[in-house]
Symmetry: D2
Subunit: 323 residues, 4 copies
């Protein structure tokens, strides 16, 4: 292998730039040429491909977003799209790819490899942390810290006014962000897709907390919570406890941005190095991840089809800590 | 005057604690006793009144929210409520008040003084900065910085995905928060109550920006904007420019919390000192403020009835800077 | 067991309060009474012991420092001191202890248990992360993030002026803080106690980086680095490369303070719960820790005498990433 | 005037990039061409001059440091150096300059204008805030906030251990940074060049504070303090009060970096616009500044020779607030 490409795809996540930097530097370290593919598979099809040298990734390790930009590509979902992508790679002499992204990214890469034989090693870049094959995804630690800092500020108001706040954090399919936010903010409840709580039990928990003279109450709601989003739940609770001064806030897009945390920079760097060295060693259609502090490569197929279970002991923790 | 009280009222604002601390320390410095009245006028009526010494305000200068808590009181709006409040003050031997809050707070205090003769000096504590009689209110600088830091994070995503973001910041009656956020974030447009822009002109400005190859667009919307809130405006813009990948985010309650900025701690301290020294010097029904770096006392009546105009040169700045 | 005590000892670390909160809430959850012992073993000897209820630990999860205060106690190193401590515990009816701290804390607790039979379960509270028996100590993640944010700021100046900065971070015996700071800041070199580099090799690495047109250079130095501290090393480098515009900065005490990160709040909560449940289950002279995401109890003796080795792959990473 | 240049000179300051952006965008808005001169006067002499368009300053408003880099130039202090600089400007067709920096920058610009007739308008870019002709300099507000956030962290440790901390902040000739840091952190004393306090009086103040049961003490020392730096003062205090557990920390270079605060971005933008519009209107050898919220142009001569006095009421405030 002489020349590889790197792209970011799907939603951006803090640490993607640290990962791109690691990919570039590792490729150069091992004597490879490296090209940046702009806007994910979309830019690959269009040939938005630029040579990257060491200074191209200087001073980006601390930046949020992705200097390679990201996009979702309908066309790459088609055989014709992938053929155009393949022709671009052949044209540029690129023999392998590092794809930084999530499930959708890896699904496309696996198909691409099967059809056209271009090997890809994946890097888990998503704030959601819902990928099998790695304890943590790149961007997750930063997103949790960003959400928690926001909740800390909201609690100032909750305490000052003896209010209840229903706070929605990201997490379409999992409570990975909601759970540490709830534990770290001293919330009374975390509502997560993995463990449905009825409205009645939510109301009961809040009534009990009020009985213990808690002046302010925090409920953390994952956006994918089955009982509905924060506004929906707050409305039902207010119906049941009319004297509750309840507010709703959605933390929203700030969770995707910002300078990556130390843990995310470290993880992104480890995985960027591992992805390139995996390619060099002949790997294909696997994702580099860290499990129990050890580097592991997991087939894309497993990453896509298997579910990483939420640690249920965390839910018990919230019960104890809100005593 | 031997004994004074201090209360916080209305929405909480970062720096209120720094102001309470300054009130307490200044009172003690001048040999007065000082009492904290919990939950604003509501706690005053109920007699939630506690003696404060120097250690009661140790280590609070950096804390958001208000250690005296805040509440809105319907009862203080009635003559009976104010009479109960007066009786509480007589009972505790409190001869003067420092009231930290906004327009509603000062309206109540002025009435109270007229009816019962208890002098109050006010401190402008609100993130909105819409009070006449001071260049800046306590909490405003922090709120702007909090909003701007959030917008910085959102721009990471906007840039990575070539998106437009419509971002709603606080400001029911004014663009004081929206304007510096727009200038400081490199936004294309700021929509503020003071200067209505038609949807057509908004669309035209965004079309022009797209013509200049701007890949990401930021529109800052004050919550009190006449054309409607961020969601409403974004919907109309998307109708006119369907190819725009537009998102909406509401910064929300985080703008009220957090550790106060250096400027807010300094301002809160200056005003806290001035409020107590104003009381000692026989002032009543005035608000302490800083105008052009000088301490001024403005009658409550003027604070309530006069409007502090937004500097219109700021709107021109956004035009120039988004060139 | 009916009544337990909790204390913090040694240098303070962010997350200690989150741990104290978890200890208190878990004790109450299981029907125990819980007492806070002020100023570590020093306060224990003097009987500075206060009952803690659930509100005593409300709103502290996000605070740096320790509400129980900390101190080093010479007297507890003596048999007489420990006897006084024992008498205090008997007097207060306290039957078990949770001690949050580091090696010195556990050494004292083990001796105390052997002599007087009072069981202690330890919680690893130190920013240094150099304790055997847990992957991470409480406070470590926050300290690294604080140092890294400071280094990010310094790099603004380094880049603007094409300067070299020698930056000293904490770590008397280990490079645990220095290594992620170096990887996360894009540093050219990390100098750590575990892997001595000669001045000649440092100079050679920097010369090579200059040859690659790197305009600014960052060297991270752990305070316990064998070749000497940052100032000493910078002086020698400047002698060898006189044209280098080199500066030294010591990050210093800020690394011990600040609101704990999400990871530290979570870890502190897990360990606080585990410590109390360990006591209830009859454990003594063990430290609760998390290894590979699983809760483990390690005998104090092992924590004190065994060394947790630095992951040497990290040093190789810096070589690659500074390509 | 058809074509102007912009440079940054002297120590970098947060907000310089926001100012460069405003200069570029304003020039383009008024139909001028604009060139960036790298590394201040040094790059001017060497002809390191690049055309800037609107995208060159996209996404820099929030970045610390200066994208134009900065340097100090001995050569520009000589007549020959300035002649080479002049030849470069003639060669590039540049007819006017915006120079962002401090006293040294303006001294050079004034001389250059007198000798070669190239008009310069200055922008006050320095964290020190010691320039006559503007209430605040670009970077000052950020530097104070950075220092104060660091001091907040240190106070966590001071409180936890009942310690005294002597903390040195920047300010070679003035207490502009030290004073708000002291007020905002609840310090007992601020030692500033403008108001010398004897060691005896420092010791007396600290003894009094200890008598009031203050457990932790903070002393803020400006680096230019006449009685010596923080270490020197701490040593003398420890000699006098041996039982004091005193530590020293120097905040250092972090005060120069980081994302600019909202106030600095606004100020930098206002001044950048004013500088270009001043040049267009025929101004020369003046600095654009904001005094009492109004734009003023002050002759370089006055900026250099006159002193902006520190508001002495601030020193009295510290006395009151540390009661």
């Amino acid at each position: 292998m002489k020349r590889i490409g790197v792209l970011t795809s799907g939603g951006d996540a803090p640490g993607m730039n640290a990962c791109v930097r690691a990919v570039v530097r590792t490729a150069l370290y091992h004597g490879l040429e490296v090209y940046g593919i702009m806007r994910g598979y979309s830019g690959l099809i269009k040939g938005e491909i630029v040579r990257l040298d060491t200074t191209a990734v200087a001073n980006v390790v601390q930046r949020g977003g992705t200097i390679l930009k990201s996009a979702r590509s309908q066309k790459f979902m088609t055989r014709e799209g992938r053929e155009e992508a393949y022709n671009q790679l052949v044209h540029h002499g690129i023999e392998g790819l590092v794809a930084i992204g999530g499930n959708g990214t890896f699904t496309g890469a696996e198909l691409f490899e099967r059809e056209f034989g271009i090997p890809t090693v994946g890097a888990p870049g998503t704030i959601d942390n819902d990928l099998f094959g790695t304890d943590y995804t790149i961007g997750y630690d930063t997103a949790v810290n960003t959400a928690l800092e926001a909740i800390d500020k909201i609690r100032d108001t909750a305490d000052s006014h003896d209010r209840a706040f229903f706070i929605e954090v990201m997490g379409r399919d999992s409570g990975y962000i909601a759970i540490p936010c709830a534990i770290g903010s001293g919330a009374e409840i975390a509502l997560v897709p993995e463990q449905v709580q009825s409205i009645d039990s939510i109301i009961e928990t809040l009534q009990r907390a009020r009985g213990r003279q808690k002046s302010s109450l925090i409920v953390i709601v994952a956006e994918g919570e089955e009982e509905g989003n924060a506004t929906h739940i707050a409305t039902q609770v207010k119906d049941a406890i009319p004297e509750l001064d309840a507010r709703v806030t959605v933390i929203g897009h700030i969770q995707r941005g910002g300078a990556p945390s130390a843990a995310d920079r470290l993880l992104a760097s480890q995985i960027g190095i591992a992805a390139v060295e995996g390619l060099i060693n002949g790997m294909r259609s696997v994702m580099a991840g860290i499990v129990d502090r050890k580097l592991v490569y997991t087939p894309f197929h497993d990453c896509i089809t298997r579910k990483k279970p939420l640690n249920h002991s965390f839910v018990r923790m919230i019960d104890i800590l809100s005593t």
